[in-house]
Symmetry: C2
Subunit: 431 residues, 2 copies
């Protein structure tokens, strides 16, 4: 009866599979094939990561970065009315005197958000302890927390590890830092760029975490970007704010905005290159590249994502209108499920344009999937081939272009599809 | 080898089940237990339904209602910028002379939306043909279409059936009409109310369809309400608009707004009761009951829904702010998946309050699930029992209450959970 035994085993296996439901991949199918990139060492920055057992076990969950004296820091943060204690604390500290250097301490597993007076107490304890260990003013210690909302942060688990973290500080541990801040992320995210000048190179390297609750509003999840450029804080802040509008504020996974979104940009001034004084120049462009790449990586690790989608809007009445239409398409559950099903369902794109609140004229609209012109003049294009459109929908990276035919406003935003994986991750356990 | 055969059969069955994925129920688990309600006959209204094969086969897909001379008609419609041809046509006809009566013709299977000049042509052909068959001016024929967007409506399939539809007209066929306008709906929706007066009763009966693409903006899916009240058109319109703000504009299934939302309210004046002349009176209240019930039925048939959720906001700076917070919670994919998972994840409610854009103060917020006070004063309530909250989450009908602790603004909105069923319905085939 070996056959019966075998069949019974098969049944057991199938039943287990059924019980598990749709399994989401352990690593996003959209993750960069080469793994975490080789990031340059940024002169003036050291990193460390450690396992503190804040919530997770068997993995690192706290990162520390030490920045040398003279480092200027710019930041953008969530506009949520229920922002977390560390966000409020960081916002107050941006723009301070760079003479003494700075530090960034981040834990994953617990967001320290909606934790009442305990939240501020935890931030104070952590930043005071870091200041003491690294011998710098508490006003130069920036902190962030990411993970479950509404549970008290066991800050002592972090403070007791600070001496070990200090010992571990090293210029080449940025990958460890990127891994320690992950929550539902399936891969660590990093990006870099270099600016060549006559006096030497300027390096930029950044890391990010984020996978769900992604619809940044003035900032995103947690992002840390480092550069050895010499640059004054006001100009650094101006660049960061301008570029956030074109990168992190143009991505969405699920239209939900975090209580903890924080993006810090630190410039150590250690490069031999001359001080950056122009708003628009090669440094601005390189920073743009790094920020765009990091924001795309967050979408590519969107919870349950199997497709990365660029939504390109042109011909709008204004750039604001274009952004509104783009986000309406990028956030529409019906558009996102059609993409998951590889269905070139342009009717749902029309619907999303219509509900956006932006100025639109049904009969001037044209829509393309990839290179395939789907609709024009308020109806399906005479040359439209559903087979061609369906072929494009099978790609991992999709392009949806909409021309409103009204003005010159334009915007590009990025999103992912909505799959069973998203439901599983968010319905089946508390993240 | 009977055992092997049996086991092989079992394997085949399990494999089939796996392939099908999560099956959504053929009828929503939230459907009224008693089936379609007994609706009163409305004096002055007749209904018919027929199988015209517009897109579906083996079911009725066109309904016709004839309204007696003197019937006043009020309407509210989608605010979508890409609204369908029949919506544009209806909007132009509201407020016309009631002397000749009126007709309403509706098809399912094809929305006649984003169909360019063909869309208007189809509407003209259908309404002209109905006018001819029923001997009334074309300006009194209201039409609607619901189903797939962007495909030309084969209007001749409808016009060739009009003579048969006329023959079938009968005062007691409102249930047939409700069934003919269904698309992804899993049950036909009806509701009624009666107003007793010294001079006789006023009857109100209404039907609705809607299941996905539900985030009405000034109207909802397709809703038809009939009454034998005597009432002038301007007052009827005023009542309808006021009540839409409290009913259909307070529901959401997936935050997506249809191109075709239409709500018509017809008053035949055949009741022996005196003319309705008061805005606020028993007729207004009865109409409110019918509209609220129909709007709830749409949510209860939300695509993939397994939970009906009332979100009650109090203590807001204004009613507008309260509505904004309510909709932010009701549309949040993270809140909706937590509900599907029966997880009292109030941290996600905090997040949704924060992102709403309404005035909010983290430390004045209080949140309850059912009778269980979960959070107050910016943190978890000292008496909170997760077990009690989890028990409430197991109910079919849930209540989430949020007090913002700022002012006196309030609003109540209704939603459903976000499940694998929604993904399946919308990712796996074109609806």
């Amino acid at each position: 009866m070996g056959k019966v035994k075998k069949l019974n085993k098969k049944i057991k296996k199938l039943k287990k599979k059924l019980k598990q439901g749709h399994n989401h991949a352990s690593v996003s199918p959209l993750a960069p094939k080469g793994g975490f990139p080789d990031l340059p060492v940024i002169d003036g920055v050291e990193f460390a990561a450690i396992e503190a057992g804040v919530r997770y076990s068997g993995r690192t969950d706290v990162m520390l970065a030490r920045l040398c004296p003279g480092t200027t820091i710019a930041g953008v943060f969530t506009k949520s009315a229920t922002r977390s204690a560390p966000v409020l604390d960081c916002q107050a500290k941006i723009g301070g005197d760079p003479a003494a250097g700075a530090a960034i301490v981040v834990n994953s597993g617990n967001a320290n958000a909606f934790t009442g007076q305990n939240g501020l107490k935890a931030v104070n304890n952590i930043t005071a302890a870091v200041a003491k260990v690294l011998d710098m003013p508490q006003t130069r210690v920036f902190s962030a927390s990411t993970g479950v909302i509404g549970e008290p942060l066991p800050f002592d688990r972090i403070t007791t590890k600070l001496a070990d973290l200090k010992t571990g500080l090293s210029p080449d541990r940025i990958h460890d830092a990127a891994a320690a801040i992950m929550t539902t992320d399936t891969f660590a995210k990093g990006a870099s760029a270099v600016v060549h000048t006559d006096d030497g190179d300027i390096q930029i390297a950044g890391i990010a975490k984020g996978s769900g609750m992604i619809a940044p509003d003035m900032a995103t999840m947690l992002v840390y970007i480092f550069t050895d450029a010499k640059i004054d804080q006001p100009l650094l802040q101006e660049m960061l704010s301008a570029l956030t509008g074109k990168t992190f504020n143009c991505i969405t996974v699920d239209s939900d905005t975090s209580t903890s979104d924080s993006l810090l940009l630190a410039a150590t001034g250690q490069s031999s290159a001359r001080e950056v004084t122009d708003m628009n120049g090669p440094f601005f462009d390189a920073l743009h590249d790094v920020m765009r790449e990091l924001s795309h990586l967050v979408v590519k690790d969107g919870e349950g994502a199997t497709k990365f989608v660029e939504v390109r809007i042109t011909g709008a009445d204004s750039n604001t209108d274009a952004h509104r239409v783009g986000m309406s398409i990028a956030n529409s559950p019906l558009v996102k499920t059609a993409i998951a099903g590889e269905d070139p369902n342009w009717g749902r794109v029309v619907m999303a344009v219509g509900k956006s609140g932006a100025q639109a004229d049904r009969d001037r609209l044209s829509i393309s999937f990839g290179d395939v012109l789907v609709a024009e003049n308020g109806w399906v294009s005479p040359n439209y081939s559903e087979a061609d459109a369906a072929k494009h929908m099978k790609c991992d990276e999709l392009l949806i272009s909409v021309d409103l035919g009204i003005g010159t406003g334009k915007a590009t935003v990025w999103t992912c599809d909505l799959t069973h994986g998203y439901i599983e991750i968010n319905a089946d356990y508390r993240s």
